[in-house]
């Protein structure tokens, strides 16, 4: 069976600096794949390469067997791969509902259908009661969820979540964990970047560890936790 997403030997250079070096791995359908690593390990760069903001300097990305490296972000999204941003980018002067409608139009044939999709997604992410709020005025926790809601409204098969937990209080974190489990239940595969070890260990099926742009480990949460290389990478940072 072809994996849902496959990275083959991805490198990305900025000037002379290598942000990613020869990274290869795959994302299997219906799993939650955690992507961890110290600051500056190249996690967000990897998302930017997968999502089409950067073309890889070397290597290829395949989604459902089709080569997507070299496509523009909107083309990647149209093929069923959505993402969120670490630094949230809500459409500031639009209401929460309009934010989600704007992305629901990707699959909707009419405005009514877009509104309907948006409604479903807002219920799923627990933002329905805030739908009329102008998104600039949302607290951070809800803005992070709005990011997820917008990505979901494009009806993806794979969703890339970039630090959806950073800056949330414990209650909000638990809510977000529930949301991610629900997303998995409706059949969407998830790749998630996260710093919070407790969260990532509890939700991930598998974990990939990046350090200095290289993949240093891959395996179950249990294996990763006990991997000496991983421990060293994190202790080295501390």
């Amino acid at each position: 069976m072809t994996p849902l997403l496959e990275l083959k030997g991805i490198s990305r250079f900025f000037g002379g600096l290598a942000a990613l070096t020869d990274v290869s791995f795959e994302v299997r359908k219906d799993e939650i794949l955690g992507l961890i690593g110290p600051n500056g390990a190249g996690k967000t760069t990897l998302f930017n390469v997968v999502n089409g903001f950067y073309a890889p300097s070397r290597g290829e990305v395949f989604f459902k067997g089709e080569r997507i490296s070299g496509l523009k972000p909107h083309q990647v999204c149209a093929r069923g791969l959505a993402r969120t941003f670490q630094v949230v980018k809500p459409l500031q002067r639009m209401s929460v509902l309009d934010n989600v409608i704007a992305s629901a139009f990707l699959r909707a044939k009419s405005k009514a259908q877009a509104v309907q999709i948006a409604g479903e997604v807002l219920h799923l992410t627990g933002l329905y009661d805030d739908r009329e709020v102008i998104s600039k005025g949302l607290p951070l926790g809800k803005r992070k969820r709005l990011e997820i809601a917008r990505a979901l409204a494009t009806k993806p098969e794979l969703i890339l979540l970039d630090e959806s937990f950073a800056g949330l209080n414990p209650t909000e974190q638990n809510e977000s964990i529930d949301i991610i489990r629900k997303i998995k239940e409706i059949g969407i595969t998830i790749m998630i970047i996260e710093h919070n070890m407790k969260v990532i260990m509890s939700i991930s099926d598998r974990i990939i560890v990046l350090n200095y742009g290289q993949k240093i480990a891959e395996g179950s949460p249990e294996e990763t936790r006990n991997n000496p290389l991983v421990i060293e990478a994190y202790l080295g940072e501390a």
């Binding site: 999502n51 909107h74 959505a82 941003f85 639009m94 405005k111």
Partner: protein, 312 residues
């Protein structure tokens, strides 16, 4: 009430010529409506889609010259310029969009500004096509009376108003605003930003070109300095929208009424006539500092300011 208000306003404007208004007042009304049309066009691209153009005179001028050249070189009525300008301006805007839309923010603004200036200088230097600085004169005027011109531009304005409303409420409108608010986010949500920015530019340009073609017919004379003017067209249309209200439906109408009346008022006072750009400039500065989203856009702020005064 809110639903029928636009119909009432249009109806009220439409009966105005029947009241036997003076030619001068009718002229001011025609100018106001024409500027509303250009303002609505600019607002679609600048206000809703966030692509601030400093070169709308280019589209106005191309529309105007389409009309003028059809009359001057091909000997057919300049009115054919209105339908013809749709195609000509659309093709022109596609080309300009291809060059300028890869630029972002202020760079797009200055790219379009450059386009406007290039066209003016080109028109000045190609007398075989444009008659150069001599300009083109429409010798056979359709009507002496201004009533018909009034109804033609009013019809155009109503159609454009409805079109803008329709577009903004649709998928296009959502995409335009998404692009304005965050181009990267829009792109990653599956919106082909280049494609939709091009659509916004073409729509805006075609409407502006129609106003230009109307201008040729109405004024009966065009030259490069008038129709490709940087200050008197490209900047004035920005002011119309900024004063009235960016990204609002009625903003361009309100802004155009204020700007045209102000211009006429200043012109009618000989002492102030020479200083009209100072007034415009100061108005622009005041609006940007105190009402950055225009009169309609900052109604809540205006109310608050006035409310405070009442409490005092």
């Amino acid at each position: 009430m809110k639903k029928i208000a636009p119909t009432l306003i249009v109806a009220a404007i439409a009966v105005l010529p029947l009241l036997g208004l003076s030619t001068y007042i009718l002229h001011v009304l025609i100018l106001t409506i024409m500027w509303s049309v250009i303002g609505m066009a600019w607002n679609l691209l600048g206000g809703f889609c966030g692509q601030v153009s400093f070169g709308h005179a280019a589209f106005f001028g191309v529309g105007a010259y389409t009309s003028g050249i059809l009359y001057n070189k091909f000997g057919i009525s300049a009115w054919w310029g209105m339908p013809a300008s749709i195609g000509v301006v659309a093709v022109f805007a596609l080309f300009i969009g291809f060059i300028t839309l890869r630029l972002r923010g202020p760079f797009f603004a200055l790219g379009t500004l450059a386009v406007g200036v290039i066209l003016r200088v080109t028109a000045e230097n190609l007398p075989d096509v444009t008659e150069g600085n001599l300009g083109i004169m429409i010798r056979e005027r359709s009507w002496v009376d201004k009533t018909w011109y009034f109804y033609i531009i009013l019809t155009l304005a109503v159609l454009v108003f409805l079109l803008v409303k329709k577009v903004v409420g649709s998928r296009l409108g959502y995409y335009f605003v998404a692009i304005r608010e965050d181009q990267d986010a829009a792109e990653s949500l599956g919106i082909n930003t280049t494609y939709y920015k091009t659509i916004a530019l073409c729509l805006s340009a075609v409407i502006t070109g129609l106003a230009g073609a109307f201008y040729t017919n109405y004024m009966g004379y065009i030259d490069p300095k008038v129709v490709f003017a940087l200050h008197d067209i490209s900047i004035v249309v920005i002011m119309v929208v900024m004063v009235g209200g960016v990204a609002t439906f009625w903003g361009p109408v309100v802004g155009s009424a204020i700007m045209v009346l102000l211009a006429e008022l200043i012109r009618s006072i000989p002492m102030l006539g020479a200083a009209h750009l100072t007034f415009f400039g100061v108005l622009l500065i005041v609006i940007i500092i105190f009402l950055p989203n225009g009169i309609i856009g900052d109604i809540p702020k205006l109310k608050r300011l006035l409310g405070i005064r009442k409490n005092l």
